[in-house]
Symmetry: C2
Subunit: 390 residues, 2 copies
C-alpha cells in the first residue's frame, strides 16, 4: 500500500510537506533516508537510528542478492526481520550496481548479464528478476529496474541520442516491472524512475510516459553520477516539480545538506545518500556552522562537541541537552580527534550517529519551517549559518 497526503505547499517555491503511509508505517516528508546497503546502516545500531528519528531506510537489492542470498532472506520473511528494523524500507532495483560493474557486465534488451563479484557465478538481472528479489525482501517501496544513464563514459560525455536510447530502454523495463510486480501480487508500492540524462526534453518524455503508466510514486534518477554541480541543479530545477503533485517524489543519491534544502525547494519529498555515513567514517563532520575535519590538529584540545547546537548522542550524551543549552555530557572534539588518531571504532560509531542525526534533524527543521509557513526564512538562515564556519 501507499497513501500520500499533501499537507501543505510553500507559496514561494515548489516545497511541500506531506505524510507518506506505507505497509510498515508513516513517513513525514520531506525526508532523508539513511542507506543500509548490506542490511545495516554502516556503523550504527537500529536502536540508534530510531532514537535519532529515522523513519525509513534503504537496502540494496544487488548486494543482498549476493550476500546473504535469497534463501536466507526468504527464511526471515524479508529484510525487516533479518536486520531488526520495524519501520519502512525502500530498496533500489540493483540496476545501478550492475551498471557499476563496468567491463564485468553486458546490457541487452532482456536485462544485464554479469559475473557475481562474490563467487564468479554467471547471473542475469532483468526487470522481472529485480521485482522477484524485491518481493522477497518485502520492502515497502520497490524501485523499477532501470538503466542509469551515465554523464560520461571514460571521458566521452553521453550524447542526446545515447541518452534517448537509454531512457527508452528504461521505459520498456518500467512496463515489464509493473507487469511483474502485479503478477507477484506484491502488497507494497512500485516507483517509476525518470531518466533522460542532462536533456530536459528527454526528461519530459520520460516523465510523461511514466505518468501515463500511473505509478504510486516517482523518482528522478541519473543525477549525482559525476556531472558538474550546475548540471545537477539544472535537472533538479526541471524535473521534480513537473511530477504529479499528488504523488511522492524521490531524488536518488543526492546529496549535500545544501542540495537537500535546494531539492526541497524544487519539490522533492525524499532523498538518500551515503554521504553522511561515508564522510563520518572519513572524519568529515556536518554541522550547523559548516563542515569540520576531525583529523585537523586544531581539535586536539577542544572541549566542545562537534556541533554546539546538536542534541545527538555524540554531542549531548545521554542527557540530550546541547552544549549551547548547558549540556556537558557529550563527547568532545578532543576525544573524537584522539579516537580517530588511534583508529578506535568508537570514533566512526559516534561521528556516524552525529552526521545521520544532522541530516535527519535538518529535514525535521525543514518540515517545521514548512508547517509554520516559514520556509523562505529558513532557507536564508540555513545558508547563513552553514557559511559562518565551525
Amino acid at each position: 500500500m501507499l497513501a500520500f497526503d499533501l499537507l501543505k505547499t510553500d507559496p514561494d517555491s515548489h516545497a511541500r510537506r506531506g505524510t507518506l503511509t506505507l505497509n510498515h508505517g508513516p513517513v513525514q516528508t520531506p525526508i532523508f533516508m539513511p542507506v543500509g546497503t548490506y542490511g545495516t546502516v554502516k556503523g550504527v545500531m537500529p536502536r540508534s537510528l530510531e532514537e535519532m528519528g529515522a523513519q525509513i531506510i534503504l537496502g540494496n537489492t544487488f548486494h543482498l542478492w549476493m550476500r546473504p542470498g535469497l534463501d536466507v532472506m526468504q527464511s526471515f520473511g524479508g529484510l525487516h526481520g533479518f536486520e531488526q528494523w520495524k519501520k519502512p524500507i525502500l530498496t533500489d532495483s540493483g540496476g545501478f550496481q550492475v551498471w557499476s560493474l563496468g567491463a564485468m557486465r553486458k546490457i541487452s534488451e532482456e536485462g544485464v548479464r554479469f559475473a557475481s563479484p562474490v563467487n564468479g557465478d554467471k547471473l542475469l538481472l532483468t526487470p522481472e528478476v529485480s521485482m522477484q528479489i524485491q518481493a522477497i525482501l518485502n520492502s515497502d517501496i520497490v524501485m523499477q529496474f532501470d538503466e542509469c544513464t551515465p554523464y560520461d563514459t571514460n571521458g566521452h560525455i553521453t550524447t542526446e541520442d545515447e541518452a534517448r536510447k537509454s531512457m527508452e530502454l528504461s521505459l520498456r523495463w518500467a512496463k515489464r516491472c509493473q507487469a511483474e510486480f502485479t503478477r507477484l501480487e506484491n502488497p507494497n508500492a512500485l516507483f517509476g524512475i525518470v531518466q533522460g540524462g542532462m536533456f530536459e526534453n528527454l526528461r519530459q518524455e520520460s516523465l510523461d510516459q511514466l505518468v501515463e503508466m500511473d505509478f504510486p510514486g516517482y523518482a528522478v534518477g541519473g543525477v549525482s553520477v559525476g556531472e558538474p554541480k550546475d548540471e545537477m541543479l539544472r535537472i533538479m530545477a526541471h524535473t521534480p516539480h513537473r511530477l504529479p503533485a499528488a504523488k511522492p517524489r524521490y531524488l536518488m543519491g543526492v546529496g549535500t545538506p545544501e542540495d537537500l534544502v535546494e531539492g526541497v525547494a524544487q519539490g522533492v519529498d525524499m532523498f538518500d545518500c551515503v554521504m553522511p555515513t561515508r564522510n563520518a567514517r572519513n572524519g568529515t563532520i556536518f554541522t550547523r556552522w559548516g563542515d569540520l575535519k576531525i583529523r585537523n590538529a586544531r581539535h586536539k584540545t577542544d572541549h566542545q562537541p562537534l556541533d554546539t547546537s546538536c542534541t545527538c548522542h555524540a554531542c549531548a550524551g545521554t542527557s540530550g541537552v546541547s552544549w549551547e543549552q548547558g549540556g556537558r555530557e557529550g563527547f568532545s572534539r578532543a576525544y573524537l580527534h584522539h579516537l580517530d588518531r588511534c583508529g578506535e571504532m568508537l570514533g566512526p560509531m559516534l561521528t556516524t550517529i552525529h552526521n545521520l542525526h544532522y541530516y535527519l534533524n535538518l529535514m525535521q527543521e525543514v518540515r517545521d519551517a514548512l508547517d509554520a509557513g516559514q520556509f523562505t526564512a529558513f532557507r536564508a538562515k540555513f545558508k547563513a549559518e552553514r557559511a559562518r564556519g565551525v
Copy 2:
C-alpha cells in the same frame, strides 16, 4: 579513598563477596573490569557499558601518556571527563607496556628508558613518573610500577635467580611508588603487585613484604604471560588467598570464563582481560553453552541469537527478553554471520556487547550464588553448561 566491606565468605572455597567503595562510587565484587586501553573499551559506547552493568573499567597509563598526552588529560581533569565515564576507573602502571617494547627499552634500577613508538622521543618511565601520570589520569585505583617477570625470554624459561632479582626490583619500586603517591597527595588508592614468577617461595616473600607496606589493595601480576595453564593455576591456587582477607585482591590479565570462576574460588575479587572484546572482533563468542565461531558456515541460516539464555542487546534487542523466554527482538546468528562476512562494523559492535555482557553477567551470577550460599552448586552447573556445546 578505598573502603572494602567483606560481605560473605564461601565455606567450601576461598571465594568472597564484597563491596569496594572508591572515589567514583561502589563496586560489587567479585567483578570483571572491561579494558579501555586508549580511553575507550574497543567498539562499545559508555552508555552500553552502563546498560550491561559494568561497574569499573581499565585505562592504560602508557597508551594514554603517548596519545592523547598529558596536556589533554590535564585539561579534562583526568580520564573520566575525557572519555565520559562516570564510574570508577583502574589504571595500570605502564610497566607491562614498556616491558613489551622488547629491544626498544632498557631497564635499570632507576626505571625504563625507551623510544616513544608514536614519535621516537627518548623517554624514561620510573615509579615516580608512573605515579605522576596516574595522578593526572585521576584513576580510582592506581597500580604500582613493577617489572612483569616473564615466563620465558626467547625460549629461555626464567630461572629462580632471575625471578628473584626481578621481584626484588619490583619491591624497591613499590616503596618508591608509595612515597611518590603520598607526596602527590593523590586522593585515590594505590595497589601493590605481587611478583615472583612461577616460584611459590618468591611469591610468598613478595607478598609478605608488600603486606608490610600496608597497601589498601593487592594484585597478583606476572600470570597469563605465556606460561602453561597448569602453571597459572598453580600460582592462582597459591597466592590470592594468602593476601590479607580485609583487602581487595586483583588477578591481572586473567582470563577465560573458566579461569574467572576458578579465580573466585581461589579468593580473587577483581579481574581484567582483553579476551571478551578482542575475541568479539575476531568472531569468537562466549556463551553459557560454550564458545561459538560466528564465521562457521553452519550459522548462515540460524535464526537463534548467539546465546538463547542471554538478555544483552545483541541477543534480546531493546526488549531485554531472552530467546528462551520468548523474546524475538534480538539479532540472529544468521545476521551476525552475514555482517562478519561483509566486514560490516555492526558485527563487532554487537558481538562486543554480547561478550562483555557475558563476562559481566557471569560475575553477577557468581555474586548471586555467593549471596545465596550456593557457590559450590553454581560452579558445577557452570561447568556442565559450558561443556554442553552451543
